[in-house]
């Protein structure tokens, strides 16, 4: 194939001239070969499945997607997902910023250990995360007496699902903000203080604007991860239809009940939603820099 483009028309004359050509243009063909291998791998591994889902969801037309999604049970599932994700994002934005701040600005015993613990949710299976909360708040859970006396239901209810999603998404905000805070030049804050700003003013006027982009990216990652959470909310929420069923739990049930068009449409919608979210903030960040 590449011999056609070869500047050396010696192919017909000498046997083994392909080898000669390959030997002389080693750099060129290795690079083309490596590029080809990588493109094929990425196309096979990542693009083919995505395209397959799109084709399958659109098989019966756009109308079929809309009708299959326009059911009260699905709408309530998506609503639950959205609601959980928003609450989780708000909590992590506030407390995640605080934690990142304390890690960068404070020195205290056990700091390295706790810093390592922040990454733990990354290593804990979502199923295990949900199960931990079940051990705490379930029927015979450690905190069951306390919860019962307060009259709140945590397991198999929204609070439990929010806690589970909080656990799974803990690292994102903190890990996004720590490097930004570390790179931030504290002389700016000192200057502000010198000019008479109080601590609060310094934070809002000087530190916060510097953190803004890290925060936006942290929020996006947290949001996308929360939207797609499955294992943890399945275990702690139980996936009760119409009550604790989220979008992912609906997809799981629909597949189980062989309600394929609904499952595929919901999967496509959920995938597109988090994709737009992440790509959008990526694009914003690139435009900014």
């Amino acid at each position: 194939m590449s011999t056609i483009n070869s500047p050396r028309p010696t192919l017909a004359k000498m046997p083994g001239s392909i080898l000669t050509w390959l030997g002389k243009n080693k750099e060129k063909w290795t690079s083309s070969l490596l590029i080809l291998v990588v493109i094929l791998y990425v196309a096979f591994l990542i693009l083919t499945p995505i395209i397959a889902l799109m084709i399958k969801a659109f098989e019966k037309g756009f109308g079929a997607i809309v009708t299959s999604l326009n059911k009260p049970e699905i709408l309530s599932a998506f609503w639950n997902t959205l609601w959980i994700s928003v609450v989780v994002v708000v909590i992590h934005t506030i407390f995640g910023t605080l934690v990142a701040w304390v890690f960068v600005r404070h020195r205290f015993p056990g700091r390295d250990l706790i810093n390592g613990l922040v990454d733990m949710p990354f290593a804990v299976s979502p199923v295990v995360a949900g199960y931990m909360l079940l051990l705490l708040f379930g029927r015979n859970g450690f905190l069951a007496p306390l919860i019962d006396s307060l009259g709140i239901q945590v397991a198999f209810a929204m609070p439990g699902m929010i806690l589970a999603t909080l656990f799974v998404t803990t690292p994102f905000m903190i890990r996004e903000l720590i490097p930004v805070l570390e790179a931030f030049d504290t002389r700016q804050e000192k200057a502000a203080a010198t000019l008479g700003a109080n601590g609060w003013q310094t934070f809002w006027r000087v530190t916060f604007p510097a953190l803004r982009w890290g925060m936006i990216y942290g929020i996006t990652l947290t949001f996308a991860r929360a939207l797609g959470e499955f294992g943890a909310v399945l275990v702690i929420g139980g996936g009760v239809q119409g009550r604790t069923e989220t979008a992912t739990l609906f997809i799981y049930r629909a597949l189980d009940e062989r309600e394929y068009i609904g499952a595929y449409s919901a999967a496509l919608l959920l995938g597109l939603f988090s994709l737009i979210l992440v790509m959008g903030s990526d694009w914003l960040r690139h435009r900014k820099h």
Binding site: V42, V124, G130, Y131
Partner: protein
């Protein structure tokens, strides 16, 4: 306490908050982490070891549990090997070569991070499910089952961990000084020699870090695997799916024991990866 304090016109220490506020901020941050992360972890440790070490060991070595752990470990290992090779190659191609569609390829690498893993599972079922064109063709022609079998698990894991090695190697490769390679080539080293002797050594740490991250991430994967592999004990049941089954059937001890093993392996590897990453970072800063 320092120059800045004396410069403050009001004479108050303002950038560093007063000890009380400092203490308050710190305790709020740490109790937040304790509530979200540490208490659940302690509870599961307590629960798994509540009947002693021998009972813990018995639960892990139950045939179904042991098989699930073995399946998880070997599929994750196979995935890690493929992902390490292909991820390093992808990073190399992205950093060193120019070709049409390069920016797009670079963007596609991160897609798996944005797609819910359950959706990944659905995608793979559409491609390789026994009723689908590709899946049934593979089954008939080669008697090769992807779904409800280890290949499906490995494929799902490859999909979701693809960014890790690439994104770990890429920045280091970008910073490499190419003068050394040219010098080696001038001295007569072949392409392979340059790759093995000059390019690869500084990449070792980031490659291993990326591989460890992939492995740690793969151990606990549930959403895509439960769709792709189903829940067939001794054949396609991974540790996470096993734990789910034990929770459903209210075998608390079994669920806790296997959970602890999974968390210990994944968390240990993650800590090791963090340690390596810090080491390679400080090494780069020194050089």
């Amino acid at each position: 306490m320092n120059l800045q304090t004396t410069l403050t016109p009001t004479g108050k220490e303002q950038v560093t908050p007063p000890p009380l506020g400092r203490w308050a901020v710190r305790s709020v941050a740490l109790s937040y982490l304790a509530v979200i992360l540490i208490i659940p972890l302690l509870v599961i440790l307590q629960d798994g070891f509540r009947d002693g070490l021998s009972e813990f060991w018995r639960q892990i070595t139950l045939p179904a549990a042991w098989d699930a752990l073995k399946l998880t470990l070997w599929t994750s290992t196979v995935m890690t090997i493929i992902n390490t090779i292909m991820g390093t190659l992808t990073a190399f191609v992205l950093v060193r070569y120019d070709f049409p569609g390069k920016t797009m390829l670079n963007g596609i690498i991160d897609l798996p991070l944005a797609i819910p893993t359950l959706v990944t599972g659905v995608m793979l079922v559409i491609l390789f499910g026994p009723q689908e064109a590709l899946g049934s063709w593979l089954k008939e022609q080669f008697d090769f089952a992807v779904m409800f079998a280890p290949p499906g698990i490995i494929l799902a894991l490859l999909f979701l961990t693809f960014p890790f090695v690439v994104r770990s190697v890429q920045p280091v490769l970008m910073e490499l000084d190419r003068a050394q390679e040219r010098a080696a080539a001038t001295l007569g080293a072949s392409g392979w020699t340059v790759f093995w002797r000059i390019i690869l050594p500084p990449l070792t740490l980031p490659v291993i870090t990326g591989a460890l991250l992939s492995f740690a991430r793969a151990i606990g994967e549930f959403g895509s695997i439960v769709i792709v592999a189903g829940n067939i004990p001794f054949r396609s049941q991974t540790a996470a799916v096993y734990v789910f089954g034990e929770v459903e059937s209210e075998n608390r001890l079994g669920a806790s024991a296997v959970s602890i093993v999974m968390v210990a392996i994944a968390f240990g590897l993650l800590m090791f990866a963090n340690y390596l990453r810090n080491r390679s970072k400080t090494k780069r800063e020194i050089l």
